[in-house]
């Protein structure tokens, strides 16, 4: 048996949940979607992915770290943080759920990033299994099952409603707190829907992509691979791939002078930008080739080397859809693997 929520009761669910915490849902905008706070009347997007990933919730694009007041030679240091509210994010796909685990490995490792941790602890993830994966999806390559997001609570669409499964204590408590809006039902339709999704996943064009040839021990072979020059040739050095990526976590720390104080904020940064490693005495990555290589080496070699073989990519396919010149991690992996096997 499984808990079930009829589709026409989804709004009731959001309303009930909103009494306890802020609920964010994907909402359509021009040719894409983004998370918005649910309010009565909000229409939930039916799309597969939000344009940006859900990492914003824990690691926002910009965030104030600390403020300074300057007077003469003296400085006053102010911690600007306020209490974080509890919130839930609905409609998170399996790939994005996995990405949070990857971000955790960075931000929750010693020394813990308290800004991130705070948001993470206040957030509840409501996963949604995929029904119609896109051609750009390759989560299977990284061992992710699009039918089982493994979030705090998983929603599976079937039988004109959602089948609900809590995977964590936090999720269970949340489901229990909503009381009787769910009904008990036989789980068979949910299993059927998942099986159907898995069938589609097998048919996807990138379903045969493997991580063979990549990993923490492949530094020497891959770093000097001939393919990087061709692959990076057309790269325009923008940050699109980085900013839509659910696992990219590099950041910059900058000061902004407001005229009556200094706000020190951090913001997303991209290793694809020419000034990423530029310092007073020079720049160790002078051309786009090196910057481009860094991004993919980090996901496919450096990250697994430091994290028990786990790759820094979840196969969500956002970069495939949004790169201005259609260069992406799949093309990189295929070309380098081909080169490697040709040796």
């Amino acid at each position: 048996m499984m808990l079930y929520l009829a589709k026409d009761k989804l709004d009731v669910f959001f309303e009930k949940a909103s009494e306890k915490l802020n609920v964010y849902v994907p909402v359509d905008n021009t040719n894409g979607s983004a998370y918005r706070k649910w309010t009565p009347g909000t229409v939930v997007s039916k799309g597969l992915h939000t344009t940006k990933s859900a990492k914003d919730f824990f690691f926002p694009q910009t965030e104030n770290l600390v403020e300074f007041k300057m007077s003469g030679k003296a400085i006053e240091i102010i911690d600007p943080r306020r209490e974080t509210e509890d919130y839930a994010v609905f409609g998170v796909r399996a790939c994005d759920v996995r990405s949070f685990g990857i971000l955790d490995k960075v931000f929750l490792s010693d020394p813990v990033d308290t800004y991130y941790k705070n948001r993470r602890e206040h957030g509840l993830i409501l996963g949604l299994s995929c029904g119609r994966p896109a051609e750009t999806c390759f989560c299977g390559t990284f061992g992710i099952d699009a039918a089982e997001p493994m979030a705090d609570v998983d929603f599976t669409e079937a039988d004109n409603g959602y089948y609900i499964k809590a995977n964590t204590e936090k999720g269970e408590a949340f489901v229990a707190s909503l009381g009787d809006i769910f009904e008990d039902r036989d789980a068979a339709p949910a299993e059927e829907a998942k099986a159907k999704t898995r069938e589609v996943l097998k048919k996807l064009p990138l379903s045969n992509l493997t991580t063979d040839g990549f990993g923490g021990d492949k530094l020497d072979e891959l770093f000097d691979a001939a393919g990087w020059a061709d692959l990076s040739e057309a790269c325009i050095g923008c940050g699109t791939c980085t900013f839509v990526c659910p696992t990219c976590q590099c950041y910059d720390i900058r000061d902004y002078d407001t005229g009556h104080g200094i706000k020190r904020f951090r913001c997303w940064d991209s290793c694809m930008f020419s000034d990423f490693t530029k310092m007073a005495h020079g720049n160790p990555r002078l051309t786009q080739k090196e910057r481009f290589r860094q991004r993919f080496m980090h996901k496919l070699v450096y990250f697994p080397a430091n994290n028990d073989g786990e790759y820094g990519c979840v196969g969500c396919g956002r970069c495939l859809a949004s790169c201005p010149i259609s260069m992406n991690i799949v093309k990189v992996m295929k070309k380098l693997a081909k080169e490697d096997s040709g040796k």
Partner: protein, 145 residues
């Protein structure tokens, strides 16, 4: 927008060194009054005013920006203000297009002899901005005091 009685706008006036700044000077020596909340920034020529200057003035809390230069034909550098004229026209049009109150910006040609015109212009502009209220559409919230 509700007009706040207490509202005293911050006005930034970019004045060309050769005409308008001298005009401001003359209005001062003639003891003509214009509000103290007009902050004059002296520039070598009205065409020195980069669109960025105007935006940054708004960012840092200006409620109105006025650019004053020599009358067309009288530019110390012969043609500078002709270029400024095209640039400011296009920029103002763009700001208007973005829905930012068009009356927050103005260009006036004020010669070195027009001290009275300078004071009158500033008084008029300050009144206009006071009526518009504080700049909210082109404001950097971090800079709000």
């Amino acid at each position: 927008m509700q007009v706040n009685e207490q509202f005293t706008p911050t006005i930034v006036a970019f004045c060309c060194n050769w005409c308008s700044y001298a005009g401001a000077d003359l209005s001062g020596t003639n003891r003509l009054q214009y509000p103290a909340n007009v902050k004059i920034i002296r520039v070598p020529c009205s065409c020195r005013v980069n669109p960025m200057f105007i935006l940054r003035a708004f960012q840092r809390g200006a409620d109105g920006v006025i650019i004053c230069g020599c009358h067309p034909g009288d530019c110390h550098y012969t043609t500078g203000n002709y270029y400024a004229r095209r640039r400011t026209t296009l920029l103002f049009s763009m700001l208007d297009y973005l829905g930012i109150e068009r009356n927050r910006t103005r260009v006036e040609w004020v010669s070195a002899a027009e001290g009275a015109k300078f004071a009158a212009t500033m008084n008029d502009f300050v009144a206009q901005i006071t009526e518009l209220g504080p700049n909210r559409r082109l404001e950097d919230l971090r800079c709000r005091k």
